[in-house]
Amino acid sequence: MGTESILLVDDNPTNLQVLYQTLEVTGCKLLVAKDGETALGIAEKALPDLILLDIMMPGIDGFEVCRRLKKDPTTESIPVIFLSALTDTKDKVRGLQLGAVDYVSKPFQPDEVIARVNTHLTIHRLKREVEKKKDELENELEVVSDVQRRLLPKGLPEIAGFKLAVHYETSLYAGGDYYDIAKLADNQWGFLVADAEGHSAPAAVMMAMTCALFRSYPEPPTEPGELIYFLNEHLCKVADPSFVTALYVVYDANHHTLKIARAGHPPPMIYRSSEKKAIEYPCGGVFPLGIDPYEQVPVTEAELQPGDRILVYTDGITERFSMDGKTYGEERLLRQLEADPGSQPQELLVSIMKDVDKFATGRPADDDQALLLGIVQ
């Protein structure tokens, strides 16, 4: 590895020379420093791949040099090997506690020094490669995430007599949750919420496929059963053994009627203002998309009244964990949906998310979370 460099630090010129000659066989570029201050200066400018550091030196000693190297973000990742006549275990432990990777006692055996240097150069090189790959992957995921967010509807439509709000967040850079809204004829609207199993890149691909299929449905998706059947037919060709849960609701804003089809997804929650009570609306359904063809997709109908609320969501909400491993659950979400009569969807959604975060007590979400809330005016 001729391109790698090693910094040798020792105040004794003879030691430095022996060390230099010993390490010439490695083919590395060798830098030298005779005291701690100089060593820190060279380390910062040249960023060597390894530092061999004597401990007892006039001025700042090797322990202090190591401490400062590890404190400085530019030099902290450079591996340090102590090379010292101090052979007490306490000194070795102290050196390692300061962040050194190894400790060689003087007088040293040249073969041993070469072997240890090569080992640590290899470890350092592999570590850098892993970090580089990790950065590359993270960058790619950010790109995926960016593309994904652009697939979501831009803003929400104005619907006469029906107010909407949405909350969407992914647990990693990219996620598997998806929602979409289709404007249909005669003040009818289609609301799709879907959740591709898993998260990160594979789920994002399934999410994008679901989006592409929804938008390429050959006619306006006014029949929920037919839409779900269509999505499944195509996802079955690609999704093995993954799957996507979905809920599709067609809302007629003139008559406040709903048609609902459900594929493995939690049913909508409906709040009846006359009863001041929210329930999980019982809807039949089929298993998730992408597994097997359906024979028939059942459709459930419902009717809303002014003041009624409908919430469609992904299980990242109800399956959100608290620190002590409990899940948020449907009951608590239902109670939230009953809160604050008269509040607008955006306010209510903010207060629901506050409650979810309060419940999680600082435990980060490990699944994506999407909610779409509508209130009849």
Partner: protein, 111 residues
């Protein structure tokens, strides 16, 4: 997550204990895949001590069910707690996977 494997009269039994979620799914998949290296075509999952099942866990179960279907074999889930049972009901998976109340009835069903 702990998985105990047994074989009785040509039926492979896997007893799951703990949580089958994103963290333990890979381990469970490894065990199931090693079973699939053999010729077995009767598989039973004992969920009596399974506390929690996430969507990643559902994928593992689904993968096993599909493989058994490909082999023209038999696959059954047994002794689900109320929570796990609800997961199968809400997700609709109950319609494509056989579920029985106890391990005994599961063995009877696939033997």
């Amino acid at each position: 997550m702990e998985i105990i494997q047994k074989e009785e009269n040509g039926v492979v039994l896997l007893a799951f204990k703990g949580r089958l979620d994103g963290k333990s799914a890979a381990e469970a998949e490894d065990i199931i895949n090693s079973i699939f290296k053999g010729e077995n075509n009767r598989l039973l999952f004992d969920f009596e001590f399974l506390e929690y099942l996430s969507s990643a866990g559902l994928r593992v179960v689904l993968g096993a069910a599909k493989e058994m279907k490909r082999r023209d074999g038999k696959f059954v889930l047994c002794a689900l707690n109320a929570y796990v049972k609800e997961v199968f009901e809400v997700s609709g998976f109950g319609a494509i996977i056989s579920i029985t109340d106890s391990v005994e009835s599961g063995i009877n069903e696939i033997s």
